[in-house]
Amino acid sequence: MRSRPLMTLRLSTAPVQNIGVVPHGTRLTFPITGGSFDGDRLRGKVLAGGDDWVVKRADGVVELDLRITLETDDGALIHMTFEGIRNDGAPGAPYFRTLPRFETADAKYSFLNRLLAVGTGAISEGGPVHVIEEIL
């Protein structure tokens, strides 16, 4: 499969809301307070108000379900979601991958409406960092 860089997304989060044990696992909600994104074709900031709704499953795998709004440096708003999985117990190295999708009404960024992407996540000191590539 071929891909090319789309952006690196850095998120800052508020203290986790531990919902507790629910039918699908242990539910944790991470409010997103801000962040930034940067790539060859778009850059800007993450608006406060999104969240990552996370469920830790009985098999130890964490499922992610994120919704945020991006604002580009030239003022376009982009709705972004991803689902993903994080498996810290994966053989070799943690497996933390996401499947981002985008929606925008801004013509300059309408290419985002027509692509699929994959992100590789990591937890840095400042918060989660996702390196996102467009699937070509």
């Binding site: 795998v61 027509r114 699929l116």
Partner: protein, 149 residues
Amino acid sequence: MDSRLLMTMQVAVVFPKKIGAVPHGTRVTAPIASGHFEGPRLRGKVLPGGGDWTLLRGDGVLELDLRVTLETDDGALIHMASFGLRHGPPEVIAALARGESVDPSTYYFRTTVRFETGHANYAFLNRLVAVSSGDRRATGPIYTIDEIL
């Protein structure tokens, strides 16, 4: 990004149901009658009863929402769900609509794939995400599905 082949999957689509114009676009549901899949770690058949719920958006992009059940050759059942996008130059999309054979590199047909299974031999599928490239044939699509490493 690193990936490796998980499997190829071919399905047969029969009697698409044209739901028509709905608030988000034009909806067509394509029932899947049969199929098969094969890769280094799993192979078997696609059970009848799944489908691809498609939505042609106002911007000309076709959204794909597929759910099928796979049965491996050793009897495991696997729930598979994928979300995809298909679009391309108007003449290419028109040729596809006429059922012609079209070089899949001339249009964008990609899906992201998730699996669920209760079978221990295939539990690795619960812990990965995958991406597929589609080749739309007159009888139904062929997907090359890669595991994201």
